[in-house]
């Protein structure tokens, strides 16, 4: 018996077809705009599933090395600034909100609302990257970038890093455990860097979308692009939610 996802054919050239049955953006191999939008949405979800697996490899590496080098990971995570991390989390969550509102505007054909939401999302995305840049430059200053004059000083002699020491009072690490902090920072830069790369791509597409939205491309009934981009953007937010917890929060009281 037919199941719910098979198509019921309308008779060819049916008189029941309002213009909405064959809008200009309907591609020839689909029977209806609904089928097309449905397929596109499902395809986007499958793509996001591949992204789960892609980031999954990095999360696996992180969990394994945290299991092996726990003290080094604690010491490493103390070098991260929870204030910037929290601010970035708030920025990204807000950008998810503005993106979701943007999709609503597209669905309800509010062109200026959509453009505003996309611009806000764009700006918030740039804020996120700016804060990331600040954090990265701090790491560079303190020589915590793996393989670029990486310095163990903050870990073998925590008192030499007064700001961090004031907050955590870490004990000095033995030299070989201190060396393993380089693995922590490798994973830090890998995971946040891969995330930032996805943000940059997203912001680029947002820029393109703002131009198209102003021309009314997404507020005439064809919301698929905005909707599916929204899925991508939210996904990048979800990755950050986990990065924030894993990198910044879980080891603050490790010792």
């Amino acid at each position: 018996m037919p199941d719910s996802t098979t198509i019921t054919p309308s008779a060819p050239n049916a008189a029941n077809s309002a213009h909405s049955e064959h809008p200009p953006y309907l591609r020839h191999h689909f029977e209806s705009a609904e089928q097309q939008a449905d397929a596109a949405g499902f395809a986007m979800w499958l793509f996001l599933v591949t992204e789960i697996m892609f980031f999954g490899g990095l999360f696996t590496a992180y969990l394994i090395y945290r299991n092996w080098y726990y003290p080094a990971f604690v010491a490493g995570s103390h070098q991260l600034n929870v204030f910037w991390g929290t601010l970035n989390t708030v920025v990204l969550i807000s950008s998810s909100f503005t993106m979701a509102m943007g999709v609503w505007c597209a669905e309800t054909r509010r062109k200026s609302g959509l453009v505003l939401c996309l611009i806000l999302t764009f700006v918030l995305g740039l804020c996120f990257l700016g804060i990331k840049a600040i954090e990265y430059s701090e790491k560079i200053e303190k020589h915590h970038v793996p393989s670029f004059h990486y310095s163990l000083q903050s870990f073998t002699n925590p008192a030499s890093d007064p700001e961090i020491f004031k907050e955590y009072h870490d004990k000095p690490l033995a030299p070989d455990m201190a060396r393993h902090t380089e693995v922590y920072f490798s994973l830090y830069f890998l995971m946040t860097g891969m995330h930032a790369l996805h943000m940059i791509i997203g912001i680029g597409i947002l820029g393109f979308m703002i131009f198209r939205a102003r021309a009314g491309a997404y507020t005439a009934g064809h919301v698929t692009f905005v909707e599916n981009f929204g899925l991508y953007w939210h996904f990048v937010d979800v990755i950050w939610i986990y990065l924030f917890a894993l990198l910044y929060l879980i080891s603050r009281h490790g010792t």
């Binding site: 996802t5 499902f42 697996m53 696996t60 394994i64 929290t86 989390t89 609503w104 979800v238 879980i250």
Partner: protein, 102 residues
């Protein structure tokens, strides 16, 4: 045609988005606050539990999965399941190495 396109017909209202936004911000505040308290082995558990709750809110409501088809939910579930398989079986190797040779 049924069951395949609720999102096209069901438009999630901004009210839902505002509620979820507030919930996410509260969750963020909560998880940061909890990280300042020394709860021993429970810190990571609580942080990840809050993170998972936040992630689920984003997925279910910002990404409309609450209103989506079973197929979408199945696809997401399959991805998460395989991700967990990758992590758990690999971690099982690493953890059991310390157990020695029988």
């Amino acid at each position: 045609m049924s069951g395949s396109n609720e999102h096209a017909h069901h438009i999630v209202s901004p009210r839902v988005y505002v509620v979820i936004l507030i919930a996410l911000l509260i969750g963020t505040a909560l998880t940061v606050w909890a990280s300042f308290i020394d709860l021993g082995p429970w810190n990571p558990v609580i942080a990840l539990a809050i993170a998972t709750t936040k992630a689920m809110l984003v997925v279910l409501f910002f990404m409309h999965v609450w209103y989506s088809t079973k197929l979408t939910k199945l696809a997401i579930g399959a991805g998460i399941f395989m991700f967990l398989t990758l992590i758990s079986l690999t971690l099982a190797d690493y953890i059991s190495r310390a157990w020695g040779n029988w």
